[in-house]
Structures are given as C-alpha cells and as structure tokens.
Symmetry: C2
Subunit: 351 residues, 2 copies
C-alpha cells in the first residue's frame, strides 16, 4: 500500500513542528482525505436554522425554512447544501440548511443581495414566532482536514472538493486529526480571546450576535447506515448507534465542562422533510486541543471508539467521515433571533 500525506502537496511547507509519528508509520487500515483543486483557497460553511418552539408555529417555521432554501437558488448561491434536522436539549425541533461555498467572495455577494440581507435583518423575523439562527464559518484550506473510511462517496463540504487522496499516513493514532491540518506544520492552533456578546442578551430573546475567537474549532462527523443490512444493520442499531448517541447527548448537555460550546446530532432529510438513514454530529469547540482531549480520554468518546473498533470488521457498507476546521476570529459569524438562550454558542453565556 503506497501512502501519501493527507496534506495536499501545494500546502506542504518547511515544518517547525513534527508529525506525532515517524515517517515509517503504517496505519492498520486505510483511510482517505478529500482533495480539491489548488484554486480553492477558502471555504464557507453556513448553518441556517429555524427553531420550532411550539406546534402552533410549526407551519410558520417550515414556510420560513422554505424561504431560506429558495434564497439559495439565485446567482452566487451556495454550490451545494444539506438539509438536516435535530431535537435540541430543550426538546425543540430545529431544521438546518447547511450550505457550502467554494469562496468567501461569492458568499458575500450572495449575502449582500436584498432578498437575503433584508429578509434576515427585517423586524418581521423578530415578530413571527419562529426562532432563527445563522452560523457562518470560513476556514482557509490550511485550517481544514477530512477523513473518510472508504474511497467514496464524498460527504458534506468535501463534495465541493471533488476528489480523494491515496491512503493517508496521518491516521490510526491520537493526534492524527491535528497532523492532517496543514497548519499543524507550523502552528499549535492554540485558542485566544473569548466568545463575546456583540448585540442583545440571550435570556431576553430578540436578536443576539456573538463574536467568535481565534482558533474556535468545528467538527462535523457523520455516518451513513442506509446501505447496511442483515448483521451489519443489526450491529449498527443495537451496538453502535446507542453509544454514539450517548456521547452526542453528553456533549449536548454537559459539553461545556470539556470545552464544547454546542453539539447537535443531525439527521439528513429530503426536500419533503422525510428523515434519511444518514446523520452527523456537528459541534463547536473552544480549541482543537479540547476536542482532542475529549476524544482521547473521555469515557463517552472512548466507548464510541472502542465499540467502532471492536466491530469494524463487520462493516462493509457503513460509511464514516469527518471534516474538521479551525477558524480565524474574523472568519466566524453567529446570529440568533428569538432562539432559547441555550441555542448554539449562546449556551456558553448561560454558564
């Protein structure tokens, strides 16, 4: 098996920091990273959500969600999007359109269009009984990595990149996530600054805008169990999914104690809102280091890790992947409108 670095050749640079493992490291099983054209320098990941706080507002919320989706169908709209839903820690259903752009310029052009800009800034959003949020991130390619357990299909933002590497070196050891980030060649990506309220008060509802901080970290880590059957399918539902959801619920409810600002386990849905057999956890962290520590030492994640590893040889059709990004403070935007105060990163201020 010929191995390649997960770091694209055009992003390799003289190192001031070494990989954790030696150059002779051979992962026990192959894994792959998404690989895109050099022309892509910086991505945009945008989570547009509606929060349904009561049955009475559900129709209104769904209509608003459709309006958001329609706004994608204009010039400079996202290159692709996923539709997902999740129930949050307060029991509210949330719908999210996760939209991706190949460059910030295009996103900004789109976001400045009156149909987008004035819809989000309108006072109608404050008065129609629906909760809204948008969380927009823009990682430079040096701040971005992915892993796939199979050579396709691609998922999430990686679909924009379009390709995959050879089997990668940086895999099968704790620290390999960091080593896949091109920036790790020269930077420890320590966090600095703090989340800060720029506008509004979470407990009062209304419009709240939060400023991020340097090296805030996002992971989207997903599974597709739609093609499993027989013993593999039984193993997914009986052995894997329960421990995965235990870990996801821990982060959702108590993650702040380990540096996790928020976590949502989302299920994909089709255009008619029908839930599919595909999901991902998406969480925001104070730092890559906090994410690493939870993953490699907290019982809730080690239980997931050991269960996956123990059963890995049973899986032929289950697809696993993740994408991890570390952001500049200026490359984050958090806005919440009439959402409950534990929504998204607002939770950090409730503590």
């Amino acid at each position: 098996m010929s191995l390649d670095s997960s770091i694209p050749s055009h992003l390799r640079c003289p190192r001031t920091r070494t990989r954790r493992v030696s150059d002779t490291w051979k992962p026990a099983v192959p894994a792959y990273s998404a690989l895109g054209p050099q022309s892509i320098k910086q991505l945009v990941m945008a989570y547009f959500g509606v929060q349904i706080k009561s049955d009475e507002t559900k129709g209104q919320a769904c209509a608003a969600f459709r309006t958001i989706l329609q706004s994608f169908n204009v010039d400079d709209g996202p290159a692709r999007h996923d539709l997902v839903q999740f129930v949050d820690g307060q029991g509210h259903l949330n719908l999210i359109a996760v939209a991706y752009w190949e460059e910030p310029e295009k996103y900004h052009k789109w976001n400045d269009k009156p149909a987008v800009k004035s819809w989000w800034s309108s006072d109608d959003r404050l008065n129609d009984g629906v909760g809204y949020f948008r969380e927009i991130f823009s990682p430079r390619m040096e701040q971005f990595e992915t892993i796939f357990t199979a050579p396709g299909p691609l998922e999430g933002v990686s679909i924009l990149l379009g390709g995959l590497t050879e089997p990668i070196i940086e895999h099968g050891y704790w620290g390999s996530m960091r080593d896949r980030l091109p920036l790790s060649q020269t930077d420890t990506m320590d966090p600095s600054g703090e989340l800060a309220l720029k506008q509004g008060t979470p407990a009062k509802g209304g419009r709240v805008i939060v400023a991020g901080h340097q090296n805030l970290t996002l992971i989207r880590s997903g599974e597709d169990w739609s093609r499993t059957d027989g013993e593999e399918r039984r193993t997914w539902f009986e052995d894997i999914q329960p421990v995965l959801l235990d870990g996801m619920n821990y982060l959702r409810d108590d993650g702040l104690e380990v540096g996790c600002y928020c976590n949502r386990y989302c299920y994909h849905m089709d255009k008619d809102g029908k839930v599919e057999e595909k999901g991902f956890g998406v969480s925001l962290w104070r730092s890559l280091s906090n994410l690493e520590s939870w993953a490699e030492s907290h019982p809730t994640h080690l239980q997931i890790f050991v269960t996956f590893n123990r059963l890995a040889k049973k899986f032929k059709e289950l697809v696993l992947y993740h994408e991890v990004s570390v952001f500049d403070a200026s490359a984050q935007y958090f806005e919440y409108i009439n959402c409950h105060p534990k929504t998204g990163v607002m939770r950090a201020f409730a503590a």
Copy 2:
C-alpha cells in the same frame, strides 16, 4: 501550579522534533518524574529469575534463588533490588530478583566476579532441574523516563535517582510517554533489526542466548495498594484490579499480535517469600510505537485507562508509577537455561 519539563535540564537539546502538545498545555492533574544527579549517565536493570516447573524442584529453585541474592552482597553488587514473583502463561511460578546499578561499569565488574560468572556458566545450571533466566538492560538516561502520580514514594530503579521533578508538562495526553523521553527531542526511536537466536534452541531447553535489536522497549508499570482501606480498597479489588489483570493476561497470552514480546504481572514479596500488596506489569516490546498503539487503541488497555480515570478521584492512597526505557541493541542481554520455550523473549520464536 508551576510546571516543568520531565526532561532533566542537562538532557535538553535543540529539538528537531516537537512535543505533541503546545507549550501552553496544562495537565488536568499533576504528575511527577524521577530526577537524579547528572553524574548518572546510564543505568543497569537486571531481571534474574528462577522458574519452578514442578513441586519436586521447588526446594532446589528456592536455594538457587537465595544463591543469586547472596551474590548481590559483594563489592560492586547492585545498588538495590526488588524481589517479586509471578505465575506465567504455562502455570509455572517464577521468582525474580530485579537488581539495579547506577552504572554499567560497576555491573560488569560484578558480573565478571568468579562467584557470579562461573555460577551462571556452570554446567550444574543445566542439570539441577531448575529453570534460570537473566535479562539485562542498560538504558542511557536519554532513553529513560518515569511517571509518578504522587510526589513520592519512589519505586523501582527511580529509588537510585533519589529525587522528583516539579509537576511535569508531559502528562495527560497520548504521546506524553514519548515526549518524556529525552531522546524524543531528536529521534523517533523506530526499531530496527530483529530478535535473533545466538545460541541454543528454545524448544530443546538447555542454554539459549538471544540477541536483542535496536530500540526494543521495556515498561515496568506498578501499583501499591497496601495503604488503601474502606471504599478505596473495595474499589481497587472489585473494579480496578480485575480489568488490570485482564489487560496483563491479554499481553501475556496474545501480546505478540500487538508487538509485545512478553509480559509478566509480578507481585512484590519480602525476604521470606511473603507476597505484598504491591505489584507491577513488566513487558518487553518491539518498539515504543507498538507500546503506544496498544495503550491508546486496544480495548484491553482502554478498559484499564477508563476505569482508572473514572475512579481516580476515589484514590487517596493508591500509588501508581511507571518506568519506560528504549535500548540500544548492544545494551540488551537475554539468557535462558532450561526454561520452557515461551519464557521471556523466546516466545517470539515459537510464533
């Protein structure tokens, strides 16, 4: 809490390899490393064993063991030793005197004394119905690290070093063991070469001498539960010790598949052979990397790790420590006399 590097100041050098964590890393709980005088350049760790293969030879074996102990009481004998026993995978009781010297020169002078040299080389050893082994290692201080969960008491070879560091930086993350080794500043410590039979045939018994290889790795990882009582004692016996022994038995029986040549879970004993409430696992590995991979990804060790971590706050009196060494090929000596063919590193040839 002021933190210091586990690497003694006189062994720090310009790095070509970085620590896994950034300089701002703060372990969640303190840990310490043994610290000795600069005059100590290279240690000697010697495991002198007798193997009792039947009740009939027990008296003979114990007499031989006493002879070994008496040989320590001469000029240039070991600075200290531990007496331990363990039952191996074939069900045989083994007694070991683990002896430590502060410098190889002294060990060699001692080893060349007729009372030592001729006793071990005598044909009587081949004919007295007892199994014997000696496994001698000599790590340079750059190839040696320790960790203690409490600021004393010292254990094992660390007693020779006599002191402890301040709370250390390199702790609380996978890879910290490697980062505590001074050589990790400039070297990945990859293994090279293979174990090789220099004399004899394991299956035939008699005298077998095995040559080691570059960067073979030893860990002695110990626990003292003698001062525990009440809930802490109950937790040790009911929750911790069983999973610890499961992991130790896995390595003893099936460790070759993860690069572990041999593992012995040893119990300390007093001069009269009375077993004490103190023990350690001592294992030999193809490489530091193999040891790391088992520790951080194998279910048998993660179970130990999670159980310890989950219950750590219950422990006031339980003392934990380990010492890890990586050896030059020339700094290893393995000799077995009439031991069964799965004894020590001979097991590697049975596979």
